[in-house]
């Protein structure tokens, strides 16, 4: 009865389907619960000239209207920098910045009252996009980057030089459950906050600092989130703080649940980037040198942008060896909502640049883009990254080769070429792209986790750990690890809601690290109890504790022992331990070994290992309208020795489709004041069922095994699959490129119909005859 490695359903699967899985807004409301709605000025950045809330206060049913001055402690909900006021003071930073909060008997009243505010703002000319910010030189943090070798000289000396600019759009998380929190006041200054958050410890600390009370007076709890994807790492705190502030102000439980439009306007998104690149390649498409400049829209505050922009740098190589490289980034302040973590955390924006260079080299040199990619992959001897870490594991050549064969890449590429040779508006493209994603927080401190395991005398087990469940299946994976360790069935193990009073001082559940960190911590906690039980059972059976086996819910001597075959149920062992006054509760703690990146010296090992995969996508594009159809996708992804192949498959497929949305339909449009115009699903289009091809062939890489000693040799799988969707973007590039062989379509992301048509028009040779008449110099 092994637990690890089995394709078990999500621990809440049946509850999800019944509608009995509770999210924050579903919890039975304590009597007297009040409701909070945020109020914002609908204007661009500027000083608040006047703030008239009298009509809000006098609205029937309103209990209180809270402003910055009502905060007893620190007015900040930022993860570190101290630059995110919970309620604006004196100025607003972007349209949607929260200025006040209404506390009312019902949510409807609170929302209606909030609309009665009169706020005058003295707005200037806001800086909205990357170009505005670059022109103004408004770096929020100093530029940063790293170099290897003399990139500029290598590019200059190369047989072929390529350069270009790529614009990469942002992305809204569109978690189906919007931001929500419920704060319940306790005795004296104590308060308990139910928050839909990836980071309960941070919410605890920010609420405490806001109320000027000790951390120990606050408990933050999260049983599950209805999706998060990075959007509830730092962005959940503001709403938890407002709920807590309201609860303190009126002495009653208080709930905040954002309306979808408010949620989209008021919370951060994936960073959009402008990438400028120059690279040199030889005649076979092998890179000789690379220079990349990444400019990111950070928004109005630092939030997590330092880490995001750093990770973009760390992934600007994707899976390719750069013999000489200079990779630099600018972190630009704009008068827009502060951008934040989103699955991939800057990695995708770096990797798409690498893939653009591969496509450009192939198109310009008339080579098969897959051949170019394969030639540039890291391999022994060509294994040093631009940041100095050596790539030690080389699974990608095997993964790419296997997928090339299983997808029938070569013959399908020929078929696509034949299809395109017929002419006509419809064009086909196919692309096979790799993913290599570094696993570990690049900030060393965050690579730690705690767990708490209780065994009860009936043999049932409770597991608690610092990780949060956002749908990724962390709870079931950790339960599998604990069940395996204790040799009991999954039905005996229950993972309880994540709470800061059970496991304190935790990092956010992020960076794909949930299972790596918490699985290991829980395993250690379970192992402590197992060792104690082994002593108890060893005495009973007269064998050394290390000769006691825990299997199939039974405890007994190992094979080879005289009394082998005799066992007692796990529950009996637990009961015996209790009788003998042996503790059945233990904590476990884990810190990731080996890693450490010195940011100032630009040296060290930021990542423990790399998660890898590859995808092959085929598209058909209407080059007259820009419409696109995804015909088929093949994926081969390395999850190490998968803890749970069903859960991992869900991460792979779901991540791919989320990446597909980022690169195709999902377009964030801001107006000149910095207001988001696409703030609802009516205007912001995430993929729907028909955007996913019926021919979708996804496999987990069978030989996968993490060379590092991770939990049961598995690999992190949360973020990496998102970037498998880069294959779709490349396939579109190649479909469009068939219009004018040798020309690189300047396709920007997202590849909306309009963006595709723009790229097609840019390279289209409208009239071949006059083109020939143009002098060579002008045509070049």
């Amino acid at each position: 009865m092994k637990s690890v490695g089995r394709a078990l359903p999500h621990d809440s699967a049946a509850r999800h389907a019944r509608g009995t899985a509770n999210y924050v807004d579903d919890l039975p409301e304590p009597p007297g619960t009040v409701h909070v709605a945020p109020g914002a000025a609908n204007a661009g950045r500027g000083l608040i000239r006047s703030l008239d809330l009298s009509a809000v206060r006098s609205f029937p049913g309103v209990l209180a209207v809270l402003e910055a001055g009502d905060i007893p402690g620190r007015n900040d909900c930022s993860p570190a920098a101290g630059d995110d006021p919970i309620l604006a003071e004196g100025e607003i930073r972007f349209p949607g910045d929260v200025v006040f909060a209404v506390v009312a008997e019902t949510r409807d009243i609170a929302r209606r009252a909030a609309k009665r505010a009169r706020i005058e703002v003295e707005s200037g000319s806001p800086r909205v996009g990357v170009d505005d910010a670059l022109a103004a030189g408004s770096d929020l943090k100093p530029p940063y980057g790293f170099e290897r070798g003399d990139a500029a000289s290598a590019v200059a000396a190369a047989p072929h030089r390529l350069e270009g600019r790529l614009r990469i759009g942002g992305q809204d998380h569109f978690y189906l459950e919007g931001q929500a929190a419920l704060a319940v006041p306790g005795e004296d200054d104590e308060i308990r906050v139910f928050s839909s958050t990836q980071h309960p410890t941070e919410v605890q600390g920010l609420v405490a600092a806001m109320l000027d009370i000790p951390d120990a007076a606050v408990v933050c709890e999260c049983r599950r989130m209805g999706g998060a994807f990075g959007g509830k790492e730092s962005q959940a705190a503001q709403w938890a703080c407002l709920a807590a502030l309201a609860a303190r102000a009126v002495g009653r439980p208080a709930k905040v649940r954002l309306d979808r439009d408010d949620d989209m306007a008021m919370t951060g998104k994936r960073h959009d980037f402008r990438a400028d690149y120059r690279c040199g390649v030889d005649a076979s498409g092998v890179l000789t040198g690379v220079e990349i400049d990444l400019a990111a829209r950070v928004g109005c505050s630092a939030d997590l942008s330092m880490g995001v922009c750093d990770r973009a740098l760390f992934h600007a190589d994707n899976a390719y060896h750069y013999p000489a490289a200079a990779i630099r980034s600018r972190r630009l302040r704009t008068d827009t909502v502060s951008n934040t973590a989103f699955r991939g955390f800057g990695g995708p924006q770096g990797m798409i640049v690498a893939e653009r260079m591969m496509d450009e080299a192939a198109i310009r040199l008339g080579l098969d883009p897959l051949a170019v990619r394969k030639r540039n992959l890291y391999r022994p001897g060509r294994d040093t990254t631009p940041y100095g870490q050596t790539v030690e594991e080389h699974v990608l050549p095997d993964i790419v080769g296997a997928l090339e064969a299983s997808s029938g890449y070569a013959s399908r590429r020929e078929e696509a070429a034949r299809f395109n040779a017929r002419g006509g508006p419809l064009r086909k493209g196919i692309a096979l792209t790799p993913v290599k994603f570094g696993i570990a927080y690049t900030l060393l401190t965050l690579n730690q986790a705690g767990a708490l395991v209780h065994v009860f005398t009936d043999g049932s087990v409770q597991v608690n750990h610092g990780g949060t469940e956002m749908g990724q299946g962390l709870y079931v994976k950790v339960a599998q690890v604990v069940a395996e360790e204790l040799g009991v069935g999954m039905d005996r193990v229950r993972v309880t809601a994540t709470r800061t009073d059970k496991v304190p001082n935790t990092p956010a559940t992020a960076a794909s690290s949930g299972s790596d960190l918490n699985g290991m911590a829980a395993k250690r906690a379970a192992r402590k109890i197992r060792r104690r039980l082994a002593k108890v059972a060893g005495r009973r059976f007269g064998v050394e504790p290390d000769r006691i086996r825990f299997e199939n819910g039974e405890v007994g001597p190992a094979s080879g022992e005289p009394r082998h075959g005799e066992t007692m149920p796990f529950a009996e062992a637990a009961s015996l331990a209790f009788t003998e006054r042996v503790s059945l509760s233990a904590t476990g703690f884990f810190r990731t070994p080996k890693i450490g990146w010195n940011r100032d010296e630009r040296s060290g090992r930021p990542f423990l290992y790399f998660a890898c995969g590859a995808a092959c996508s085929e598209v058909t594009v209407d080059t007259e309208t820009g419409e696109m159809r995804l015909d088929r996708v093949d994926i081969l992804h390395d999850a190490g020795r998968s803890l749970n192949p069903a859960i991992d498959m869900g991460q792979i497929e779901g991540g791919f489709v989320q990446g597909l949305g980022w690169l195709t339909n999902e377009e964030l449009v801001f107006d000149q004041s910095g207001r988001l115009l696409t703030h609802a699903p009516s205007t912001y289009k995430i993929p729907t069922c028909s955007d996913v091809p019926a021919d979708f062939r996804v496999e987990i890489y069978e030989p996968g095994r993490n060379p590092e000693r991770t939990i049961h040799r598995s690999k992190a799988v949360g973020e990496p699959p998102l970037m498998l969707a880069l294959s779709v973007f490349s396939a579109i590039v190649h479909a469009v490129a068939s219009l004018a062989p040798g020309r690189v379509p300047p396709l920007d992301a997202p590849a909306t119909p309009e963006a595709i048509l723009r790229a097609a028009d840019a390279i289209r040779r409208r009239d071949p005859a006059p083109a020939r008449a143009v002098p060579a110099a002008a045509a070049g």
């Binding site: 509850r15 419809l426 749908g471 309208t625 419409e627 377009e667 289009k685 019926a694």
Partner: protein, 493 residues
């Protein structure tokens, strides 16, 4: 006259008198019943997390359709059965077949969208179809999932839906139908006072009379648009008149020469008849909203609200449709294109009611094409919608009617472009391409579209030209498999 709304929940009739005219079904479920299995994802009918199944009598049998409870006004449920996610499993250790299929296929991750998917699949389970993947895509287009990538959910649908339903709802169908039949009393519903009411007259005469008496009341059919005035704009709508209970306004008549729709016929009710005019009309309908939206939204509402980006008006204009309006006892008829005067201004007097839409069938020498351009293929609002009707004589275009959505402040024809293609000989080599310059010039004179978050003005004009050429290409005989990435006519035929 009745003063309480009545609907069926869990086998019992719920009768409610004192409810706010704007109360939504979702608020009723979550706040009154405390049935929190049904979720709010967007409160505007786009994400499907709040989906419930609404059962209504059709030819004596109960038919379940998915509906977005977030924008479904409680009063519009008069006479219906409402099924929510908690109602499906018989006991705490039993799952409904669609729930079991979702568990077995690993169809949930965060689980927040799952109740909505369960209810759409419940309606599909009861539709007694054996759906293929395309049909599943269509059924699920109104349910967004951000975690799974849909494949496992589609697999669950394929695994559990097909053949006659065998759940408790199927077993108790006769009893439930009898209950609904009892509720169908033909009485006018008027809940509230003259100052604030929800009314749902049961006959055309009383509906027309009530609208004339309360010209400032909001006339609501499916509320797929008005619902957002309530949930997003927080507007006070004290007087609401619902058209959905008038049988004569829900009638769909398929005649030899034309199709006649009652203005309160839902898209779902009109789908077959309109698709029978031309497969492209069917495809526009299929892509309009979602199953949830089409189950309650109406062609009449799509016209009456006068949106510049409604999908039906350009199609109906190109087809030469006319509409009937009624103010009190006076009826008038006008060509539908004359209804749209300017942005937000229609040819409708206060208290006047849109009652019928008459759509002529295509003649033997007529060809129809329509194309919808949107960021996402399914369940999106058009950037541009072009609808074309060509009259052919020999190989020539003898007449052209072109109507557009997304190109102007109203759904509008393009007279200069129509002129530019009239007389073209489609049998001559290279004809559509040769006409490109004159088509594009004419379009630029016909329209000055705007930049917005859906598309730029430049793109709109550019793609409109491409659509005219596509229509000409196809009319000249090119198969749509060579001209379109999706929505092939050959597949529909």
């Amino acid at each position: 006259m009745r003063d309480a709304v009545r609907f069926v929940r869990r086998g019992r009739v719920v009768s409610l008198g004192g409810f706010a005219p704007t109360e939504t079904l979702l608020d009723h479920l979550r706040l009154r019943e405390r049935s929190t299995g049904t979720k709010e994802g967007c409160a505007e009918g786009d994400c499907g997390a709040c989906t419930v199944a609404v059962g209504r009598l059709r030819d004596g049998r109960i038919v379940y359709e998915p509906a977005n409870s977030c924008i479904q006004l409680l009063g519009t449920l008069d006479g219906a059965e409402v099924v929510a996610v908690e109602d499906l499993a018989r006991s705490s250790d039993d799952l409904h077949p669609v729930q079991q299929a979702l568990v077995d296929c690993h169809g949930s991750q965060c689980g927040f969208c799952t109740p909505g998917f369960v209810m759409t699949l419940f309606a599909l389970y009861h539709a007694n179809e054996s759906p293929n993947r395309d049909a599943v895509n269509d059924w699920l287009a109104g349910n967004l999932c951000r975690c799974t990538g849909y494949r496992p959910i589609a697999d669950a649908a394929l695994a559990c839906c097909g053949g006659p339903p065998r759940d408790d709802f199927a077993r108790n169908a006769a009893r439930a139908a009898a209950l609904l039949k009892e509720l169908d009393d033909g009485e006018d519903l008027f809940a509230g006072s003259d100052e604030a009411f929800f009314a749902a007259p049961a006959s055309e005469d009383s509906l027309a009379e009530l609208c004339a008496r309360h010209p400032d009341a909001v006339i609501v059919a499916g509320a797929t648009d008005v619902g957002l005035w309530i949930t997003k704009e927080l507007r006070d709508l004290p007087r609401i008149i619902h058209t959905g209970r008038v049988p004569s306004l829900r009638a769909v008549r398929e005649e030899d020469e034309r199709v006649e729709l009652g203005a309160a016929a839902t898209y779902a009710e009109a789908e077959a008849a309109l698709g029978g005019i031309d497969p492209d009309v069917g495809e526009v309908l299929r892509r309009l909203g979602s199953k949830q939206v089409r189950a309650v939204g109406t062609v009449g509402g799509n016209i009456a609200n006068g949106s510049p980006i409604g999908d039906m008006p350009p199609v109906l204009i190109a087809l030469g449709a006319s509409i009937e309006l009624r103010l009190g006892v006076r009826r008038r008829t006008l060509p539908i294109e004359d209804f749209f005067i300017d942005y937000g201004v229609q040819n409708r007097a206060p208290g006047e009611l849109l009652t019928r839409i008459r759509i002529p069938r295509l003649g033997p020498d007529e060809r129809f094409r329509s194309y919808k351009i949107s960021k996402r293929y399914d369940q999106d609002i058009s950037s541009v919608l072009g609808a074309f009707r060509f009259g052919l004589a020999g190989g020539r275009i003898a007449s052209a009617t072109m109507a557009w959505g997304g190109m102007a402040a109203t759904p509008k024809r393009s007279p200069r472009t129509e002129q530019a293609v009239t007389g073209l000989n489609l049998e001559r080599e290279g004809t559509p391409r040769a006409a490109e310059r004159s088509v594009r010039d004419a379009l630029a004179q016909d329209f000055s579209p705007i930049d917005d978050h859906r598309a730029s003005a430049r793109y709109r004009l550019r793609v409109a030209g491409a659509l005219v050429l596509k229509a000409l290409d196809e009319t000249a005989g090119r198969a749509s498999g060579e001209t379109r990435v999706r929505g092939h006519r050959e597949a529909a035929a």
